[in-house]
């Protein structure tokens, strides 16, 4: 622990006689330029996300599983990774049972170590929920957990995300306030604002660098 003490002592010596600066955070600077009328939030999110290659659809709270099946079959995909214990996972499962599409539903129900190969190479698409969206930057907010693990939004080439229209906030600051992030964050919280991309070669934009090549957002209008 010598390094720790040495570093802290040097820093304290550098500060001797100085008073800590007050916290004069001016929240207007990060909120006022980024406020929208409720009916404009989705439009703003949509246009920002589409600008970075994201597909956005508006869907009904009952029939979205049909849209999902359509998206998959149009792309000729074979399987879909889902979280069976979540509400949307159950709804999806019921739809699948009723309609029996040829696309296989794959449940993320065991530790990654048990099926790494399949997860990394064998999954075509995934569907996850979100805890909300951010209009200012065109972002989805995900809090992966036991039921909907982190890798679901990262490994498959296509990621489908469900977003409730009523859960879109103006900006990151209001999102943090609304859900009181500072009093408790999950092990991993994510903002996702498009499919994975890179411009590392000649600044040419290419999608699908390491994560999903495609991101589809289904905006669920609340009744």
């Amino acid at each position: 622990m010598n390094a720790r003490n040495n570093i802290l002592n040097k820093l304290r010596a550098g500060l001797s006689g100085a008073t800590p600066r007050p916290d004069d955070f001016d929240e207007r600077l990060v909120t006022e330029p980024w406020q929208y009328a409720p009916e404009d939030r989705i439009g703003r999110l949509r246009s920002l996300m589409e600008a970075v290659h994201t597909e956005v659809h508006t869907v009904g709270s009952k029939d979205w599983p049909k849209t999902v099946a359509g998206i998959l079959s149009r792309r000729n995909l074979n399987n879909l990774l889902y979280a069976p214990e979540t509400d949307h996972g159950k709804q999806l499962g019921e739809h699948w049972q009723a309609t029996e599409p040829t696309i296989e539903l794959v449940a993320y129900d065991r530790p990654v170590e048990e099926w790494k190969d399949t997860l990394f190479w064998g999954v075509d698409a995934s569907i996850t929920g979100t805890v909300g969206g951010i209009a200012a930057t065109g972002s989805l907010v995900l809090w992966p957990d036991r039921h909907e693990p982190r890798l679901m939004s990262l490994l498959p080439p296509l990621h489908i995300a469900l977003l409730r229209a009523s859960q879109v906030e103006d900006n990151l600051y209001t999102m943090m306030q609304r859900h009181n992030w500072s009093s408790g964050l999950p092990t991993n919280a994510l903002l996702i604002s498009g499919p994975s991309k890179t411009a590392d070669i000649e600044q040419v934009l290419a999608y699908g660098a390491h994560g999903p090549k495609e991101l589809v957002v289904l905006v669920i209008e609340d009744e």
Binding site: P33, L191, A209
Partner: protein
Amino acid sequence: MSQRIPVTELTGDFRQRAKEALGDDQLRTNFRNAMDSLMTKRADAFPDEEEREGLRELGNRIKARALSRLPDLLEQLETRLTENGVHVHWAETVEEANRIVHGIIERRQGRRVVKGKSMVSEEMEMNDYLAGRGIESLESDMGEYIVQLDNEKPSHIIMPAIHKNRRQVSRLFHDHLGEPETDDVNELIRIGRRALRRKFMEADVGVSGVNFAIAETGTLLLVENEGNGRMSTTAPPVHIAVTGIEKVVQNLRDVVPLLSLLTRSALGQPITTYVNLISGPRKPEELDGPEEVHLVLLDNGRTGAFADAQMRQTLNCIRCGACMNHCPVYTRVGGHTYGEVYPGPIGKIITPHMVGLHKVPDHPSASSLCGACGEVCPVKIPIPELLQRLRQENVKSPEEEPGVKDGGAKYSRSERLIWRLWQQLNSRPGIYRLFLWGATRFRKLTPKKAGPWTDNHTAPVPARRSLHDLAKDHLARQGGQ
């Protein structure tokens, strides 16, 4: 591929490398194009000047506040992270940091490491350190991967492979991975994706940097576009984050403006594809994520910069790269010319604290002091002012109090003497008049060679009559009218 030969040693000094770079048309075109487009993107991302300036001011205050409480915040960060189950390590030197990282890998009997982008790990030369101990340490950011394949160092802190064009990358992939050559950037990225995905899957340990460490919540925030950062911090069973001690901020809300400043200044994006907030390892019931998370806090000269209230501002830096994108010198000579981990304006002000000013004596003066860097810096570091300060430190005599590690490399007794005489001359009217009298009479005797100045300019020759003289005449004439 598995055997890593040491990075090509850079030859010569800054001046010599600059000269070579200036003669390399390909390199200059690659940089010019990239920097022009990055400048345009940044400008487009800040359409409202008032908003931009308000945000920069806020960014500056947040960093200044964090630095004014740095030791307390570091302790708070450590406490929160520990509560969250993250192991916190402290390292004064890069050797120490490397030893810590290696120790963690050894305990897990790890052999394969994948890395997300981290400039601190470049400071540590972690890849070489681990390779020397039989551990493969592979860069996974596309740009970093390309640079590593070619045994090079990054030439830009955000765009590591910006000095290369697609043909050069294609040849590299062909030579190292046996892939057919292609002109298609999408295809090149696909090749990289496939090669690296296997590595993510097999890795024993993932290493990453940190963009902001939040003391309030004990959270490490990482930004990226590719997803390799998320892969490195999520897929392997162990995640080691390495970062400088200056990256800590007080509150979670502080990152809102900093994040916006960072991504807009760096790439002109309202936000990066991924913002990854890590507050702990996998919980027992969770199905993925690393079982162990470590944070290594590195000093490496930062406490030295911190000790001086003026130079402390260097530690505001959020590593956006905007200063290099806007630097007329960087754009022309490229990142490798600087010969150090951090190139461009930020490199010039941070490197002396890490390696000592005597190792980079030409850096403070490799600037026209045009001020562009200071104007664009999102946290308002007065870079030109700091460069001037370093120039002074550069010529301090051994008797003077040094303000930076190994200053005074350019101190010269004769130069100091000349300046002293010049000072005397200009502060004593009698001597000054005598000097003027001599300089105008014997002006033909001024030397034709005056150091490097006359390499590109004709030598200055005093006028036949001094301004003093002319003014006297003029006034006399006016008085006579």
